[in-house]
Symmetry: C2
Subunit: 107 residues, 2 copies
Amino acid sequence: MTADPKMYDCPALIAIKAISGKWKTRVLWLLRDGPHHFGELRAALPGVSAKVLSEQLGQLKDDAIISSREEMRDGVLYVLYAYSDYGRGLIPVLDQLGAWGQAHQNR
Amino acid sequence: MTADPKMYDCPALIAIKAISGKWKTRVLWLLRDGPHHFGELRAALPGVSAKVLSEQLGQLKDDAIISSREEMRDGVLYVLYAYSDYGRGLIPVLDQLGAWGQAHQNR
DNA sequence: ACAAGGAGTTACAAAAAGGTGACTGCCGAC
DNA sequence: GTCGGCAGTCACCTTTTTGTAACTCCTTGT
């Protein structure tokens, strides 16, 4: 990835690769108003499978955009996902992307 | 697409769908400094096939981000691709995406 | 011991995206 | 009329991404 010369010509592609995926932007959208655990995300995203959600959360974690912490509640384990400080830097970008997307939708 | 309720929750996804594709951002990058014809784009993007380039140019045209016009030069037909006025509105978004991508790359 | 709730994982299947090589259509020069 | 340069298209195949269903692990309460 870093060794790919074609990538150099287009830094935007690096950003896109980090946030594209059928559910990633939606997850990132949901996490704006605070941490959510796996089951909440799953319930909020009708149609997502545990497998794919887990994969995409893993990729967002690998990119350090989100982080997770475990929490015991009532003897049951919850894994909470939230933006990392680094990941929060992505929010303005997502906002601008969203603004353009919305305008594009009803053009 | 417009009828998909899940889309509503995440306008950023609409934008991403419009610009994601292995070559779209790179094409958009090249078109910043003026129109280019098919063969030029192809030569500037080592590894792209005529089929896929043609497909992606078609999608960018369908989204009205770029436009094309034909031109005769030396008895040979060239098809020039360039940003549309509407598409130029995407440039600041790509810039911000690129800035984040670059920072992300060497984090 | 076992049930219940949460968080995944695994093997497999389907769908979408991208790639290949050969082919077509157009136009003007020879 | 045939050749060369440009802009694609077509049928087919490979790779990547997403989806499905069944299953595991962990912890506390009964």
